[in-house]
Amino acid sequence: MNKIIKYVFYDIIRSKIMIAYTLFLLLLTIGLFNLGGNPDKAILSLLNIVLLTVPLISIVFATTHFYNSYEFMELLVAQPINRTRIFMSEYLGVACSLSGAFILGVGLPVLLFGASLTGLYLLLTGVFITFIFVALAFLASVLTRDKAKGIGIALLVWFYFALIYDGIVLFILYYFSDYPLENATLAMTALNPVDLGRIIVLLNLDVSALMGYTGALYKSILGSVWGIGLAFGLLLLWILVPILSSRRIFSRRDI
């Protein structure tokens, strides 16, 4: 396994996109910390930008990488190597290098300017979101052989989780505003990893007091150690379900 990951890393590092991504995150984070003065405020702005860009870059980069590595995988499939090993090496290679860029780009400045529990949660959330969206990207890539179609599906997935889903939730909240929706909102949150990540971080900032009854409910459920554990457990599930199903598809199809 390690040998193949080594070559995947090697391939990614040379592509320069990873360096640009790290620099982008680094500049963004340093800029935000120097702009506000209050580190909590900076983390809040950072959270909003990170939750929009990290999924987008992860999913687009992972999808294009998967299609571009097709020749590499073809070469390895004729060797005495298990197909699932090739697939998981590709996944770990991409997800780990994107996470590495994120930790370097966001983690380093956070540590310097505003090291706190919230900062740690932000980092953890970012890493989880990276792993989740790389998994979703691989799922989109194994579903179709056509590169353009694959990237299309991947972008649609991002669009759905980043924008459309919130729209649907708002619509439901508005339409059924006469009913008690606290538990339903909680359940709806679990169905979107981006929202889940947002709430994990928000609850550790003072702004959660602004979120009204639902905020109070979130606080009572997710505010405890148990709740945080549950939230990260759900995020883990969001990694495992797409990656295991795409691994299954990959090992059962023709190359």
Binding site: K3, L75, V77, A78, N82, I255
Partner: protein, 235 residues
């Protein structure tokens, strides 16, 4: 050495292989022929586990290979069109495969030397011509002394001298008791190197016989005419 039993494969509605059963023995060179789209490459890819059959079984040395991978250490494969990571250099591709196959102690670098690949080691795979890529594919296929060699149209993109080098290498490996499967459209070449001819047509086995018996059956001196005769008789 390789036993194929009732192999079936379809892509959607298209039945590419329809109950193909055939046995290949060690120490033979078998030429797989047939019109374009008759299922030659699909059969080869089934043996390699790249294409998963819908039905039937493939056994190597008596053991089924379906859903396994370790058996591929016995196979050297040269694809019809070698596709390689474009930004890797020749040296890196060869180095990587050697790194993966570290268990093999004896490495056969004869073709790397004969094709002068070392002089081109720093060239990127994406910048290579089709023929040079074929040379890299050939060198990789023979490198780890496999018991079975599968060559899919090996000489299609090679210049005459390189093709001759490859033919000599094939005959040399045969003497070591290896099974060599070759698909080809060039009958003179088949006649030159092969012992047996296996013909696929529309996904079915048309015949699988030695070259002598084909010639004897048809009373023809040249293989190409003999095969044309068999094909026409059936129509």
């Amino acid at each position: 050495m390789i036993t194929i039993q009732n192999l079936r494969k379809s892509y959607g509605k298209l039945n590419v292989l329809k109950d193909v059963s055939v046995v290949f023995d060690a120490g033979r060179i078998v030429s797989v022929i047939g019109p374009n789209g008759s299922g030659k490459t699909t059969m080869i890819k089934c043996i390699l586990g790249m294409v998963l059959p819908d039905g039937g079984d493939i056994k190597i040395g008596g053991e089924s290979i379906l859903k396994k991978h370790a058996y591929r250490s016995q196979i050297g494969y040269m694809p019809q069109i070698g596709r390689y990571p474009e930004n890797m250099k020749i040296r890196q591709v060869i180095g990587m495969i050697r790194d993966i196959r570290k268990d093999v102690k004896q490495v056969d670098e004869e073709l790397i030397g004969l094709y002068g690949l070392k002089e081109m080691y720093e060239k990127r795979m994406g910048a290579l011509s089709g023929g040079t890529k074929q040379k890299v594919s050939a060198a990789l296929a023979f490198m780890f002394n496999p018991k079975i060699l599968i060559l899919d149209e090996p000489t299609a993109g090679l210049d005459p001298i390189s093709a001759e080098i490859l033919k000599c290498k094939i005959l040399k490996e045969k003497k070591k008791g290896k099974l060599i499967l070759i698909t080809s459209h060039i009958m003179s070449e088949v006649e030159e190197v092969a012992d047996e001819v296996m013909c696929l047509m529309d996904g079915q086995l048309k015949f699988h016989e030695t070259i002598e018996s084909i010639k004897a059956q048809t009373n023809e001196e040249r293989l190409s005419r003999a095969i044309a005769k068999i094909m026409n008789e059936e129509d």
